[in-house]
Subunit: 345 residues, 2 copies
């Protein structure tokens, strides 16, 4: 089965995306894979599978690979004489901005290219942690309360210590700090505002139980991964999470009873709804006093959370078999005809 992996992007998580892509090269070896690299300037390159290693990108060697342009239904390689078109579904594996903020979704939708990944609304609601909370609350899924601060605005925080400071719109723990004392606040905010115009403040709950669950909808049913209780020091820092993106060995299932697993799945399905159709997402939950709270939605999880699925290739095949159709609207100019008739011209 043909599949193009689109990775890289104009994103703080650009490098993580490269790691994810090289991981999927192994995990999806039964697919006929094409690798499309998006550099930080949005130039696209067709990367030969044998060159799919970190050094190809960090050394700049990728610039010698063939250029691709986006065209209706696929990608085109211009040659001296003629051109070659690549037509196949795309797996959007660009983490962070571009891939998860709706830019790539808009691009692929405009060019009518089928893809695995979040659509525009799914992107917007999962990319910004403030909007994730709007969505969860509207759907009746619990989230931690938060305060929002804006760059250059007030730095008064009413959440009691300790709390977490997070840029509103980044993943992979970039710019995130735990603040335990007032004198650490300014530095934590300075760090977070390096990455975003707004930050959120959430209570930090010592030793909170965290559970990760991935899944997707296909052929009319939800399909879930196993539940993992992620290992953490205090919380995952970027370096640790970075290594995490190269995970490929299946993990051990969290020690949870069947009803707790079911409850996590129900919360997952509520969030997934119809909005995330076409995407394989990972939801990270907290369990606090027996209640489930949504922490965040990863609409393009690191290495697609392959390590949570017993049969990851099958999951991707199922998804590919049920991608959302594009927007199809037939324009017939009936109103212009009516108006023209009314005006007598």
């Amino acid at each position: 089965m043909k599949l193009a992996i689109l990775f890289g992007g104009q994103s703080f998580e650009h490098e993580i995306s490269i790691v994810s892509a090289t991981t999927l090269k192994e995990k999806l070896s039964d697919f006929e894979l094409t690798f499309i690299f998006c550099d930080q300037d949005h130039t696209l390159y067709w990367i030969d599978a044998t060159k799919m290693k970190a050094q190809t990108f960090s050394s700049g060697a990728y610039t010698k690979e063939p250029l691709l342009e986006v065209t209706r239904g696929g990608f085109i390689r211009k040659k001296r004489f003629g051109s070659e078109t690549l037509q196949m579904p795309v797996l959007n594996l660009i983490h962070g901005s571009d891939g998860e903020d709706g830019t790539i979704a808009g691009l692929l939708d405009f060019y009518n290219i089928a893809y695995i990944g979040p659509r525009r609304d799914a992107s917007v609601f999962s990319f910004d942690k403030r909007y994730t909370k709007y969505l969860a609350k509207a759907l009746g899924v619990k989230v931690l309360d938060c305060e929002v601060l804006h760059k250059g605005g007030s730095r008064d925080v009413s959440t009691p210590f300790p709390f977490i400071v997070k840029p509103s719109r980044l993943g992979s723990s970039i710019g995130v700090s735990i603040v335990r004392h007032a004198d650490a606040l300014d530095y934590a905010l300075d760090v977070a505002f390096e990455f975003d115009e707004s930050v959120i403040i959430e209570p930090f709950i010592e030793g909170v139980k965290e559970y990760n669950l991935a899944g997707f909808r296909a052929q009319g049913a939800m399909h879930y991964s196993i539940v993992e209780e992620p290992q953490k020091s205090e919380f995952l820092d970027f370096d640790k999470k970075y290594l995490d993106f190269s995970r490929s060995a299946t993990v051990n299932e969290a020690d949870l009873d069947a009803s707790s697993v079911r409850a996590l799945q129900e919360n997952f399905a509520t969030i997934y709804g119809s909005m995330f159709q076409g995407a394989l997402i990972r939801c990270d939950f907290f369990l606090i006093d027996g209640e489930i709270y949504l922490n965040e939605i990863n609409p393009i999880p690191g290495s697609m959370a392959n390590y949570l699925f017993n049969d990851f290739s099958k999951a991707i095949t199922q998804l590919l078999g049920d991608l959302p159709p594009g927007n199809k609207i037939h324009v017939n100019y009936q109103y212009i005809h009516t108006i023209s008739a009314a005006k007598g011209k």
Copy 2:
């Protein structure tokens, strides 16, 4: 000043967009305008200003005009020998899907083309009436409560009669009905579900006062239009609203005291926030028992609500002078270098 008007689109409001574009041709005659038509298949044409009339499109004559492709920073016209690049800011004038759902925003962002129009998150929150309510509630702006029904799901409605049935995601009153009796419900739902997978039900308030206000932020300040009390029969039907998109004469200001105007402006500014930066939007409000309610956000109002501005050209010039910068992230591969060093390769 150079400006490209991008119009048409794969949208139920495709024809309305053509009317908007021909209206702006007159209203922005002091600009150096380029007209870019997006047909229902997303093919782009460069339309000569002299051909900017409805018949060019309804007759199919536009297909004889030069083709354009999107490229970094602009649009390119391929010629037999060489090519010509158009580089100028774009006014996204595609109403409804494509233009207001984030597709065009994603496309223009990807290619780093400056534009007037809603960004991706602004699009998602204004395109779907459900999400507009999430946003308004989170920001403390009042909205009418609503029920949501899904295609193929329950048709039980608890809102008392009369109520309005609206597709979640369309503008221009398409698919909207007022339901006064139980026996009219099924037909109203059938009509609305023709256009969307979900519909919202809102109370219909006989004779409710409605006020429209347009505006934008530029150079650190909000700039508002006058407030209009739109004329309506019962509510604007599509044909009436369609004619409405060709409005170009400045309207009369609504009969409101200064404090009411200020209150509308404050609600507008709260919604606009930083999310709508780069867009000139129109918010439609209700006034119920002295309280202001947001009805809907039009992030690309018909003919850009030119008729609400005393100096529309100046408004567009101000906006063009303060468009949001693109996403600029410099990738330096420091993590890959670190990891490679740690691995000893």
